[in-house]
């Protein structure tokens, strides 16, 4: 009898959709929404991330070799495939298309299974984490990331990046990475940690809005929304719901295909935790 019940319980847990945390016992499923119509491409988020996460300035030579460490990078495209390339005539009539790109914290991350030492792994918070002191620098993960947002320390950048007293600014909550280590956006895990700890000390749940990522906090147009997708009262959950994006699919089934939410390259079955809202133009 109890065998059957166990089986049924386990089965229903196993069958639980990833929206509800899947078969993992997720505590949280941190997710994001970036509204591309509000994003102005200003770069404030990117610099905020440098300040928060001890990102090295590599200098022009290394930047030229593709070693810039911008965990958050604002890509800029001139064409607009959705409203037709031919619209980009002799002037750039509808401005630029900006894309804030950072680790999409995929829930079936292509970078994780290829790591020979499991330095890239998934946390019970739904984060795609990197264990720096386990990383051996094989770079398989970066090779496998379809978004190209893993950054490798080819050198000991810290030797030149923070000449004294610039080093006094380094955030003591996280490390400075050395040569041979892979790094990328963590969804500001140190902020998540300290908020969770504070909540635990007060014997309560983390409330929506309490954790702000550095990029979100500074964004002048509030284009970035961050929170727990498992918390149905959270802004991020409501926005996913409103724009009908969900985890657990490679193609969103929408009642209304005009709703703006989409996940980047979700057809690759990476299960990204970031929903982008389409840019809008009055054409």
């Amino acid at each position: 009898m109890s065998l059957v019940r166990n089986f049924i319980e386990d089965w229903s847990r196993y069958r639980r959709s990833i929206d509800e945390g899947g078969f993992h016992e997720y505590e949280h499923m941190w997710g994001m929404v970036i509204d591309l119509d509000k994003c102005t491409g200003c770069n404030a988020c990117s610099v905020a991330c440098y300040a928060e996460n001890n990102l090295a300035v590599v200098g022009e030579d290394k930047f030229e070799n593709g070693q810039g460490m911008h965990w958050m990078r604002i890509e800029r495209y001139w064409d607009e495939p959705n409203i037709g390339n031919e619209r980009v005539r002799d002037t750039q009539e509808h401005g630029a298309s900006f894309m804030p790109m950072m680790c999409q914290q995929c829930n079936s991350a292509t970078c994780e299974p290829v790591c020979p030492v499991s330095a890239a792994y998934h946390t019970p918070d739904g984060l795609n984490a990197q264990i720096y002191n386990r990383c051996v620098g094989s770079r398989y993960c970066a090779n496998n990331c379809p978004y190209r947002l893993r950054y490798f320390n080819f050198f000991s950048y810290y030797e030149d990046s923070w000449p004294s007293p610039l080093d006094m600014q380094l955030n003591p909550d996280i490390t400075v990475r050395d040569k041979g280590v892979m790094e990328k956006c963590t969804f500001c895990v140190q902020r998540i940690r300290s908020t969770k700890n504070a909540a635990k000390m007060e014997d309560r749940q983390v409330v929506d809005g309490e954790v702000q990522t550095a990029c979100q906090q500074t964004c002048p147009t509030s284009a970035i929304v961050f929170g727990d997708l498992l918390d149905h009262e959270s802004d991020v959950h409501k926005l996913w719901h409103k724009h009908q994006t969900r985890l657990g699919t490679t193609k969103q089934k929408k009642d209304n295909p005009e709703l703006r939410g989409y996940r980047l390259y979700e057809q690759l079955n990476t299960e990204p935790s970031v929903t982008y809202l389409e840019r809008v133009r009055d054409v």
């Binding site: 980009v88 007293p165 908020t195 709703l259």
Partner: protein
């Protein structure tokens, strides 16, 4: 705490409150703010040691001085070091947000190239000196026994406000001088002059959030214009919901704001006013809009700019002009703005005036352009800088009218075009004192260099020129102890200079902090009740916790004076067929942030170039010159030549070459020195007739290929999405259908 010795009238004046009976509404100070790190409080920097708990961060409120907008900041401080800056959510200007320059304030503060010791020029070279020697020299040259007086002494600063401005004026007065040159390359002076003349107020509130359409003639309100972080939040509201606003940006080369436009129009430089009049013409003659609000002279002028003439002068197709006019009529209230690229011409004032005329015709006054009133304490109000002060300063120096100049917060020798000949004129001034944090181009030519505390180490009060609704005094307080004991506070220096001129009169004021507390205490109703003598310490602490003091707003209605002058559009010179645009960008700004590694490595918002200068040209121009991206061209004006690699894109008028400001430093530390070119240097003479502002956008250039490939380091290897769905775009019509409720 400080005992004040001098008489009450002088006291009020030097405290910045004379002549006003402003009482701050109620003494109902807001309660403590809790910060995001659990339960710690935002605390004032009074006894910092008590708040140093190992491993725990606390937050202090202060003010960002990375540009003149003066957004509120909060610094996260741990173990006595400031680690991170965030926007101050209590600030009505920036409500918790910061731009990238604001974020990078940390690297100005911790910059490895800060000045740490006073320097005095000996035998032609700057040599280390003690503070005593440096101050003794200043006393000798500018003290009471120097005989110096009147306009032979001057201050040259950047935009300044608050109590620093009060003390600076007191110092000038003590010398009998009124020569205060206020220099700012990126400014809104022409806009302010037009608003003052036409509406009777220089800084009306601009409600981008209430507008259904914004037509901007080069006003980069998301990047560098007026108060970009305030406007970014307004813009987010403008863009959301059922009535998503439409943005049309007309300018010679794409700004960050232009990059976000629904419709971006490449405009021939200097024809902004013509386009505005052409639109007015269509609105009146084709769309039958009521023009009774406009004076006859203006109507006469508008009638001269019919569609075909406007098209010919601006290069904008007639059907496009008519479409924009129709949108403006349909989407009321709208808002028409005019920024630096409209104002920076010989006829800049007229262009901005024409934009304002359009606002009046469209009925936007009191709708999206609101009266804001004057700041209740005029002595604290912002003294906003401009470039006319740079040329006036060059004239005064060149005519040998100056014996001693003190300068702070501005780098005129970097910003001055070659035609002003400022370096020689500057060197001819007998005594020049730099209050500086860095060895910039101007500081390198000073006779005495006084190393200043950073903005994050100092006290101050600031009043933004553009107030976002509530009028506020922004408080700047140290976020940590000075890194270098050899540096001093600017406020302390102002007190010392005043005491030097009037020995004894400032004795009761121990330091600038003490002065500020007394000064704020003397604003009626802030720190004291009606008859109280003692300062209410908890009220003071709360001001410092908030970083802001709200002031009463005495709103004054607009007055109107609608004069209108004809456009002054200069013909092209066939020898110099291109227009040179020195682009302002919210990265290196006017060059002041070229010494910040984060910002040097922050890809340009448009070109994505890092660590260097580039020239933007249109593909048509590139084909004419037979150059590809990265090839070096020469940009020649009658005033000089630049060699710079090209970046080719379609966000620029075909007759324009745009070179960003900021690089081309000869000095200014390891990150800035010897990098790129400075387009300001080769600008041609010319200024707006009405305001005297330099015509920064009015220069003509010739371009030539050098046949050399240069180095253009960019983020990303592709300019297109190759048909993939990376940034997807839908039409506003689709968005309106579905998001009516948000």
């Amino acid at each position: 705490m400080s005992k004040i010795e001098f008489d009450r009238r002088d006291f009020l004046k030097v405290m910045g409150v004379s002549g006003v009976a402003a009482t701050v509404a109620g003494c109902d100070m807001p309660s403590y703010i809790t910060s995001e790190e659990g339960a710690e409080e935002v605390i004032p920097y009074l006894s910092p040691e008590e708040f140093v708990i190992p491993g725990v961060g606390v937050h202090y409120a202060s003010t960002c001085l990375q540009c003149p907008a003066t957004c509120g900041i909060r610094g996260r401080v741990r173990e006595g070091r400031v680690l991170k800056l965030e926007g101050n959510p209590k600030s009505a200007l920036n409500t918790g947000k910061l731009c990238q320059m604001g974020q990078a304030g940390l690297q100005t503060h911790y910059n490895p190239d800060r000045l740490t010791k006073p320097l005095v020029r000996k035998d032609g070279a700057l040599a280390e000196a003690t503070w005593e020697d440096a101050l003794a020299l200043i006393e000798e040259k500018t003290g009471p026994s120097s005989g110096l007086s009147g306009g032979r002494f001057a201050w040259l600063t950047g935009t300044i406000s608050g109590h620093q401005s009060v003390l600076l004026k007191a110092h000038l007065e003590s010398l009998g001088s009124s020569s205060h040159f206020v220099h700012e390359v990126i400014n809104t002076r022409v806009w302010q002059a037009v608003c003052q003349d036409m509406l009777g107020q220089s800084m009306p509130r601009l409600r981008i959030d209430k507008a259904k359409m914004v037509l901007s003639f080069g006003a980069d309100f998301l990047g560098t214009w007026m108060s970009p972080i305030h406007f970014s939040a307004d813009y987010a509201r403008f863009r959301s919901g059922e009535d998503r606003g439409m943005l049309v940006q007309a300018e010679p080369s794409m700004s960050l704001t232009g990059a976000n436009a629904d419709l971006w129009v490449a405009l021939r430089p200097g024809t902004e006013g013509v386009m505005a009049l052409g639109l007015a013409n269509v609105l009146i003659n084709k769309e039958r809009m009521d023009a009774s609000a406009l004076p006859a002279a203006a109507l006469e002028l508008i009638n001269q700019y019919g569609v075909s003439r406007t098209t010919k002068m601006t290069g904008i197709a007639g059907d496009r002009l008519i479409r924009i006019a129709r949108h403006l009529k349909e989407r009321s209230p709208s808002l028409v703005l005019a920024g630096a690229s409209a104002a920076g011409h010989v006829g800049g004032y007229q262009s901005v005036q024409a934009a304002m005329l359009l606002n009046i015709l469209l009925g936007n006054i009191d709708q999206t352009i609101e009266a804001s009133g004057d700041f209740a304490l005029p002595q604290l109000a912002s003294v906003s800088g401009g470039t006319s002060d740079l040329s006036r300063f060059a004239d005064a120096a060149g005519a040998g009218k100056l014996d001693a100049v003190f300068f702070d917060g501005s780098n005129p020798l970097f910003a001055a075009p070659n035609h002003l000949g400022l370096t020689e004129k500057f060197d001819s001034i007998p005594f020049k004192v730099a209050f500086s944090q860095f060895m910039d181009e101007t500081t390198a030519h000073a006779d005495v260099v006084l190393p200043m505390a950073s903005a994050l180490e100092d006290w101050g009060t600031h009043v933004a020129a553009y107030q976002g609704g509530d009028h506020e005094i922004a408080f700047q307080q140290p976020l940590m102890e000075p890194i270098y004991p050899g540096t001093r506070s600017f406020g302390d220096m102002l007190l010392a200079l005043n005491s030097m001129r009037n020995p004894g009169s400032y004795d009761g004021l121990e330091d600038y902090y003490g002065y500020l507390q007394s000064a704020v205490g003397s604003i009626p109703g802030v720190l004291k009740g009606e008859d109280d003598e003692a300062i209410n310490v908890s009220a003071w602490n709360r001001i410092l916790q908030d970083g802001r003091l709200q002031m009463p707003v005495d709103t004054r209605a607009f007055t109107s004076n609608l004069s209108m002058d004809d456009m002054d559009v200069r013909d092209a010179d066939p020898a110099f067929p291109y227009y040179l645009v020195p682009t302002p960008r919210g990265t290196l700004y006017d060059g002041r942030h070229a010494n910040i590694p984060w910002l040097q490595e922050s890809p340009d918002q448009i070109s994505k170039v890092v660590w260097n200068s580039w020239a933007e040209i249109h593909p048509v121009t590139a084909a004419k010159l037979a150059v590809e991206e990265g090839d070096v061209i020469t940009v020649t004006t009658p005033d000089g030549v630049l060699e710079v690699p090209v970046y080719i894109h379609k966000g620029i008028h075909v007759d324009v070459v745009a070179v960003p400001m900021g690089q081309g430093h000869e000095d200014y530390g390891r990150y800035a020195r010897g990098r790129g070119v400075n387009p300001l240097k080769i600008l041609q003479p010319g200024s707006d007739a009405k305001t005297g502002e330099l015509a920064l956008y009015g220069s003509r250039a010739a371009l030539a290929a050098t046949g050399r490939a240069g180095r253009l380091i960019k983020m990303g290897n592709t300019e297109t999405q190759h048909g993939r769905k990376i940034v997807a775009t839908i039409t506003a019509e689709q968005q309106r259908r579905n998001e009516g409720d948000s």
